[in-house]
Symmetry: C2
Subunit: 343 residues, 2 copies
């Protein structure tokens, strides 16, 4: 006969209600009691029926992860597997599983999040993106459902727990590096201008250019997709201008890979003709020709911190909203070169 | 007041039991009826309580995805995000979400799969690996729970639906290519010798070497992890031999990247000194220096086919076991070079 909660309680020497709380991973139960009860469950081969359990205590031991677009497109950029890796690592330690969205467009994603919340499928949600007036963020706020954003919320910043980098400062550093080595015509290639990450990186670039009193024609600011194809597209636009740039601030390494490829096709060389600075330090940044000067944003740690904050929030609704800024570091490699003043 | 199944039924002009079947995605309901009912649900803002629904009809609209090791380690190899991309794409079309394992070692993974099955968390499971006498495979067989393997089952091949490449043949082709361009000392670098994918690739290599009557010392066969570090380790072993190889068959591109790095460190050049043939055609295979001659195994399509087979099986328990062999293609690039007979 299958064992019951009572059998487990007896074996572990605790009350049946304690067993229920352990199953629900209630934070009031001490770690040593949890261990003892879990051991008894294992020895008796007891498996709580998770659905019955959900209805009773509303703990699913699962974290919802929402991608910015369909998993199909997003997973092409190594940022997402790397951030999932960080989330998965913390989830693993705390015995949570991941429930990953597959929705394609905004409507799909919104419906999927509604299913996660109303269907009681997950204990909380991590949004892997943040954009202006996002209906998913608003919905989660209204529902008072635990969620964490990787990136910066576009509004209600103090009420939403988020894990971010100082993208403004990092972009300022990259642009100043190009200025320091003599570049005067510097363009910016970013993702959608509705994403807060693009807005912050653009602002850092603008600030540096303006402080240095350099030209900033609006054609020098290009918004494309966070994919290799986006980088190619940007090169087509920028290098058909009358005064093409000699330096680039590119918001993502995969884009930069596309930039390098396309420059080659139109007969330009990096770093001889064009210097590239980039973001994210994806592992591909080290194996491109040339290796990229790029900002290490510690993607893995963004995931770990987000998972930790979310689980804290899911276990204790009174946990205050937090902001965590993960430190960044510019990795100087061979994609930038001093301007030759004799040219 | 929240709307009920009856409200939805009335609005869509069907019986309430039909609405329940649509919620459960019963395959007997026509697509047009499903669309009509779903539209009514949307208009009325009706959200089925998914847990109540699970208890009633046991459909979760989720696919379990089991990684070979912790998501943490596995996601370092771009194979996994790419296969998830394929699975996610098909799941998206059929409105399934993904439930991804985070377990670290074999015991963790086994427990997580038990939770998925006994907790009724998923409709079926895709195993992203296959190894000899795997307790997870055996458990799923005993439970008669729908599952699909990406790779080749180590036993009961005719009873388990699996999606695979012809790894034996692909490996034979790579090895013959090295032989054709004059290499006589050819070594094999594979993953764990318990994985069926390694066994098949090793067998193809052996066959080609033996057919050509070339030397095959056991030291030429090295088993390491499917990571960059594994490739580095293998080079240390092979290039301290008295007769080091001039040609390599490497079971994974990320390993090959490690091989190239480590060769460089010990003063050897690819392809001048050592020719490399590889597997998987990860996108990094095109941007390494030199770009890799590698087998395109169509990782994305492996994922798509696995998801399709699993959902068919989950919706119809009588669906027979299938084997799907996704075609492969060798991509010839610059990592192999004809042996100079004057050397």
């Amino acid at each position: 006969m299958a064992s019951t909660i009572k059998d487990v309680a007896k074996k572990a020497g605790v009350a049946p209600s304690t067993v229920s709380r352990v199953i629900a991973d209630n934070s009031r139960i001490s770690l040593s009691t949890k261990k003892r009860v879990r051991k008894a469950m294992k020895q008796l081969g007891y498996h709580p029926n998770i659905n019955a359990r959900n209805l009773a205590v509303r703990s699913t031991q699962a974290i919802g992860v929402v991608m910015p677009s369909s998993a199909d497109t997003a997973l092409q950029n190594p940022f997402f597997p790397e951030v999932l890796r960080g989330i998965g690592s913390f989830a693993h330690e705390t015995e949570y599983s991941l429930y990953v969205s597959t929705g394609g467009d905004d409507d799909d994603i919104f419906e999927e999040v509604q299913r996660m919340v109303h269907g009681n499928r997950v204990d909380g949600i991590i949004l892997l993106y943040s954009r202006i007036s996002d209906s998913v963020q608003q919905f989660l706020m209204e529902e008072e459902f635990p969620f964490v954003i990787i990136g910066k919320p576009s509004e209600q910043e103090n009420e939403i727990t988020h894990v971010d980098n100082d993208n403004y400062k990092a972009s300022l550093e990259l642009t100043n590096h190009l200025i320091d080595i003599g570049h005067q015509n510097i363009a910016f290639i970013g993702g959608s201008d509705e994403l807060t990450v693009t807005i912050d990186r653009l602002q850092g670039y603008r600030q540096a250019i303006q402080e240095a009193g350099l030209p900033l024609p609006e054609e020098y600011i290009v918004h494309v997709e966070f994919l290799k194809s986006g980088g190619r597209e940007a090169v087509e636009q920028l290098f058909s201008l009358q005064t093409p740039p000699t330096g680039l601030v590119v918001a993502d390494d995969l884009m930069s890979l596309g930039v390098i490829n396309m420059l080659e096709e139109i007969g330009l060389n990096c770093p001889e003709d064009v210097s590239i600075t980039s973001f994210n330090n994806l592992y591909l940044a080290e194996i491109t020709t040339p290796p990229l000067t790029t900002v290490d944003i510690q993607i893995y740690m963004l995931g770990v911190h987000a998972a930790r904050c979310l689980i804290e929030k899911a276990q204790n609704k009174d946990e205050p909203a937090k902001r965590i800024i993960v430190p960044h570091e510019v990795k100087y490699r061979q994609s930038t070169k001093e301007i030759d003043p004799t040219k």
